[in-house]
Amino acid sequence: MFLEASINMKRPSGFELQAQIDIPDSGVTALFGPSGSGKSTLLRLLAGLERGYESDEITIMSRGTIWQDAVKFLPPHQRSIGFVSQQPQLFPHTTVLGNLKLAQKFRPAPAGIALADVISWLELESLLHAHPQHLSGGEAQRVSLARALIGTTSCLLMDEPLASIDTASKTVLLEYIHRLSTTLSIPIIYVSHSLQEIQFLADRIYLLRNGSVVSNGSMLDLGNSLLLNKDQGDNAGSMLTCETLGLDEQYGLTSLAIDQQRLYVTGQKLNTHSHARISVPARDVSITLQQPQQSSILNILEATVVDIEKSTHAPSVLISLQLEQQILLARITRKSLDHLSLSTGQRVFAQIKSISLLNENLLSED
C-alpha cells in the first residue's frame, strides 16, 4: 500500500469531510463526485496544501512514513509528490524549459523521473522555448504535467486537470495521461467530476458525496454501476474492455471480443490481441427480447438484466445488463420498460448504435 489516510475534518462553514482512503502502489485511483463533494479538499490534504484545524483528526501515512497525524505535519515540499491542478500555474517569468529546469532545481534529490524522459513522453520539444503566456490551454496543462513529473519519486496527484481546457485538447491530454499511467510505476490519484475521464483512466474509484465516501471499489465492479451513472444524464454510459481480434479488410471493420461475444468498430490501427477500452453511451443501447434477425445494427450482445433504476419519475430509466463479467448500461423509456415488462434475471438482446474506441479516439457508428 502506498498511502493510507483517515480524514475526519470540519470547517467553520459547516462542511464536513470524512474519508478512509487506501492508495495501492500503482495504477490510477480516482476520487469522483460532484462539485462540493470534498474530493479536491481530500486531494489537497493528501498533498499537504491544506492541513485542517487542530480539532480535526487527520492521519496520512505513506509507506511507513507519517505525512500527517495529531503532532506531525510534513509540508508538501517534503512529500516528493507531483501535483497538477486545474490551472497550469506555469511560472510566468521564464520559458517552458525554464519551468522544467526550475522543477529540477526544486527537487531535493533529483533521483526520480528525468527531464529528458518527460520532454519526450509529453512531446514538448517544439514548445521548450515558448513563454507560458503564448501556450494554448491544452499545451500549458501538458507542460504543467511534465513539470510535476520531473523528479517525482512517490506519486502523481491530479486535481481536475482537464476541467478548464477545450474538448479537443482534453482528448489529447487524456491520451497522454493514460499512456503515462501505463508507463509509470508510481500511483496516480486523479480527481474529477467527469465520468468519461474516470471510466477511461481509473483502475479504482472512490465515489464521494457531501464530504463522505459513498462507495469504493475497482473500475470493473463500480465503473459501470447505476450508482455512478444515475445522475449523469446523457453522459451515462459504460466502459468496456475488449480484446482486439483483427481487421476485416473488405469492410474496414475491426472485430473485438467482449466476454465471448463479438463487436465491430471502424478502425485500422489496432494491434491484434491487445486490449482496448470502448465506451458505449447508455442512450445508444436499446433492448429487444428476441434476437433481431434483419437489422442494420451490427453490434448486438446477449445479456441478462441485473438491475433497473428505480424510484424515478423521469421519462427514461437506466438498465444494467450483465454480459459475462462486464456491465453494459442501457437507457430506455419508462414506457418501453413497462411494454417489455423487463425484470431482473431476464435474458435480453442489447443493440448498440455507437461505440467510441477510446484508446484510438475513433468513433464507429452502426
Binding site: 462540493g36 489537497r44 515540499h77 507531483g82 491542478s85 523528479g151
Partner: protein
C-alpha cells in the same frame, strides 16, 4: 579633495548603505506584512508608515536624544563598539534606515501581495523549500517591487535634510552630506556653489525617477497567471 565632492561621496555612501541594510531588514518585514494575518499588523503597519507624515525634525530630535551615550541605544552602542554613536556616519545610517523604511517596505509589500498564491503552491508541490520558493520565484516575480523599493529608499536618503541637520553635525567626510553642504553654502551666501549642488541634485533625482518609470513601464508579462481555483 573639494569639500563638495567629499559631501557627494558621503551622500552616495550613506544612500548605498541604507539601501543595503533595508534590503536585509525591510525585505523580511515586507514579506511578513504581506502574508501575516496576525493582529499585531494593525499596530506595526502604521508604525512603519509614521516617518511619511512626521516632520523629519521630530524624528531627528528623538534620535538626538536616543543616540546620546547615557541613553539606552547610545549606551548599548558605546558598550558594543567602544565609541559614542552620536555624530557619526553609523548614526546617520541607523536614522536614515528608519526614516526611509516605509518607502522601501510599501512597494515591496504590494508586490508580494500581488503574487499569485497558485505559483507558490505549485512550487511547494514541486519540492521547493520556503527559501527556494523565495529566491527562485518570489524575487523574480517581484522584480519591479524590488526596483521601486530600492530606488525610492536610495533617492529618499539622498534627499534627507531635517534629521541629518539634527543629528549629523556636518563633519566633513563623516556626516556632511550634499543637502547639508548646500545649506552651508546658502548660509554663507555662496550662491554659485549652492546653484551647482542644487542643480546637480535636481538632475540626478530626475534621472533616477526616469530610470524607475522606464523600467516599470517595460513590457513585462509576469505574474499574469490565473488565480488558483479551489473547488
Amino acid at each position: 579633495m573639494h569639500p563638495d565632492l567629499l559631501a557627494l561621496i558621503v551622500t552616495l555612501k550613506l544612500a548605498t548603505s541604507v539601501t543595503l541594510v533595508l534590503a536585509l531588514i525591510g525585505t523580511p518585514i515586507a514579506w511578513w506584512l504581506s502574508q501575516s494575518t496576525s493582529k499585531a499588523r494593525v499596530i506595526i503597519e502604521p508604525l512603519i508608515a509614521l516617518p511619511i507624515v512626521l516632520p523629519p525634525t521630530v524624528l531627528g530630535f528623538y534620535f538626538l536624544v536616543a543616540f546620546a551615550p547615557d541613553q539606552i541605544i547610545g549606551g548599548i552602542w558605546l558598550k558594543l563598539v567602544g565609541t559614542p554613536l552620536a555624530f557619526t556616519f553609523s548614526s546617520l545610517v541607523i536614522a536614515s534606515c528608519i526614516y526611509s523604511l516605509p518607502f522601501y517596505i510599501q512597494p515591496l509589500q504590494l508586490a508580494f501581495q500581488s503574487i499569485n498564491r497558485g505559483f507558490l503552491e505549485a512550487a511547494s508541490t514541486l519540492g521547493a523549500s520556503p527559501l527556494k520558493r523565495f529566491f527562485y520565484l518570489i524575487v523574480p516575480l517581484s522584480r519591479r517591487g524590488f526596483i521601486t523599493a530600492g530606488s525610492l529608499a536610495f533617492a529618499h536618503t539622498i534627499g534627507e535634510f531635517g534629521i541629518i541637520l539634527m543629528i549629523g553635525g556636518s563633519i566633513p567626510g563623516e556626516t556632511r552630506v550634499l543637502s547639508i553642504a548646500l545649506f552651508d553654502h546658502v548660509e554663507s551666501l555662496n550662491y554659485q556653489n549652492a546653484h551647482m549642488l542644487a542643480l546637480g541634485l535636481v538632475i540626478f533625482s530626475f534621472l533616477l525617477l526616469l530610470a524607475i518609470y522606464t523600467l516599470n513601464r517595460a513590457p513585462q508579462e509576469q505574474n499574469r497567471g490565473l488565480r488558483s481555483h479551489v473547488s
